[in-house]
C-alpha cells in the first residue's frame, strides 16, 4: 500500500495554464484570365460571309472563390456595337454583330457558347458582347479553371457591309471574366 502511493506521487503532472494562439489564414479570392496571344489578322473578301481570323486564341480563366459564389462568366465584348472595327482611311465601320466567335470550351463548365457579339453582357455597351461561358460554382469547383479556345470570323454579307470600301480596319476585342454574386 505504501509503495503504490509513492509511485503515484512520482508521476503526478503539473500543467501551466493554456495559452492560445489565434490563427488567421486568409485565402483571398482571385479571378484571373490570360490569353495565348493578343492579335488576330483578317484578309477580307468583299461581301463574303466567311473571313476567318489568322489564328485561334485560347483564354484561360482561373479562380479561387469563397463559398456563396454561384457562377463564373467569361465574356467577349467591344466598346461599341456599331464600330467594332473602323477603317483607318475611310472611317467605315464593321459592327460587332458582324464579328463572331466559335468557342471550344474545356475544363470547369465544359463547352462554351459561340455566336456573334450582339448581346448585352456584363461588360462593354449594349449589344456588343457574347457570354462564352457560364460556369456554375459548387463545392467542387471553388478553386478551378477553364479554357475557351476562340476562332474568329467577320461576316461581310449583311446589310451595307458588301459595299465596304477597301481599307485596313482595326479594333480591340476584350475578354474578361466575372464571378457572381
Amino acid at each position: 500500500m505504501a509503495m503504490t502511493f509513492a509511485a503515484s506521487m512520482a508521476s503526478a503532472q503539473l500543467n501551466s495554464g493554456a495559452q492560445t494562439i489565434a490563427l488567421n489564414a486568409n485565402l483571398a479570392e482571385s479571378l484571373t484570365l490570360s490569353l495565348s496571344a493578343n492579335s488576330v489578322n483578317f484578309t477580307l473578301s468583299a461581301g463574303s460571309a466567311t473571313n476567318a481570323g489568322s489564328a485561334n486564341i485560347t483564354a484561360t480563366t482561373k479562380w479561387v472563390l469563397k463559398p456563396g459564389r454561384t457562377a463564373v462568366g467569361v465574356y467577349a465584348y467591344f466598346a461599341s456595337s456599331t464600330a467594332a472595327l473602323t477603317g483607318t482611311a475611310s472611317g467605315a465601320t464593321i459592327p460587332s454583330s458582324a464579328f463572331s466567335i466559335t468557342d471550344t470550351g474545356a475544363g470547369s463548365g465544359g463547352a462554351g457558347t459561340s455566336g456573334a457579339l450582339s448581346n448585352t453582357v456584363a461588360f462593354g455597351v449594349a449589344n456588343s458582347g457574347l457570354r462564352m461561358a457560364n460556369v456554375g460554382i459548387t463545392g467542387t469547383n471553388m478553386n478551378a479553371s477553364r479554357t475557351d479556345q476562340m476562332a474568329f470570323n467577320i461576316d461581310l454579307s449583311g446589310g451595307t457591309l458588301p459595299q465596304l470600301p477597301a481599307d485596313t480596319f482595326t479594333g480591340t476585342l476584350n475578354i474578361q471574366a466575372q464571378a457572381t454574386p
Binding site: L164, A166, T168, T172, N174, Q176
Partner: protein, 187 residues
C-alpha cells in the same frame, strides 16, 4: 439582467454592422482584368474586267466605211477601291497604232480605222494615247467618278465594232488578225 438604454442602442448598432459586413462579403462581384486582342482586318482594293466573249469576226468590203463586227461584246468592270481614288476609267487599245490588224505580209489596218461604239454612242476610232501601250492606239470607253457611295461597284460597257476601209481603198485581199485589249484603271 437588464440593459441600460444606451447599451441596448450600442448592441443594436453593432449587430447591424455585423449584418452589413456579412452581407457585403458576397455582395460584390469580382472581375478579372480585361485582356485585349488587337484586330487587324484588311480589305484589299481590286479591279477586274471580264468580257462576254473574246472573238469578233469581220467580213470586209473593199473601201467601205461600214464593216461591222460579227457580235457585240460587253465588258463588265467590277471594283473595290480605297477612299483616295477619284475615278475609274475603262480603255480599249491596240499594241500598235499602225498595225492594229495585219495580214502578216506587211499589209496593215491601223487603229485609226478601227472603231468602237460604246453603249450606243457614235463610233469612235482608237486614236488616243491611253495609259496602256503605244501612242495613238487607244480609246477611253468610260470614266466613272468614285464617290463615297460607289467605292464598291461595277459597270458594263457594251461595245460594237467597225472597221472603216475608206482610208484604205487599196488594201489587198487577205485575212487580217489583231488583238484588242480592254483594261481599266483607277486613279
Amino acid at each position: 439582467m437588464k440593459l441600460r438604454p444606451q447599451h441596448g442602442a450600442r448592441l443594436a448598432t453593432l449587430t447591424l454592422v455585423v449584418i452589413v459586413l456579412a452581407a457585403g462579403a458576397h455582395a460584390q462581384v469580382i472581375n478579372s482584368g480585361a485582356s485585349t486582342i488587337s484586330l487587324n482586318a484588311v480589305l484589299n482594293d481590286s479591279i477586274t474586267v471580264s468580257l462576254s466573249a473574246n472573238a469578233v469576226n469581220f467580213t470586209l468590203t473593199q473601201g467601205s466605211a461600214s464593216n461591222p463586227g460579227s457580235t457585240a461584246i460587253t465588258a463588265t468592270t467590277t471594283w473595290l477601291l480605297r477612299p483616295n481614288v477619284g475615278s475609274l476609267k475603262v480603255y480599249a487599245f491596240f499594241a500598235s497604232s499602225t498595225s492594229a490588224l495585219t495580214d502578216g505580209a506587211g499589209n496593215n489596218i491601223p487603229s485609226a480605222d478601227f472603231q468602237i461604239s460604246n453603249n450606243g454612242s457614235a463610233f469612235n476610232a482608237l486614236t488616243s494615247t491611253v495609259p496602256f501601250n503605244g501612242a495613238n492606239a487607244g480609246l477611253q470607253l468610260s470614266s466613272t467618278p468614285i464617290l463615297g457611295n460607289n467605292r464598291s461597284g461595277s459597270r458594263t460597257d457594251n461595245m460594237n465594232f467597225n472597221i472603216n476601209l475608206v482610208p484604205l481603198p487599196n488594201l489587198p485581199a487577205g485575212t487580217y488578225t489583231g488583238t484588242l485589249t480592254i483594261q481599266a484603271q483607277a486613279i
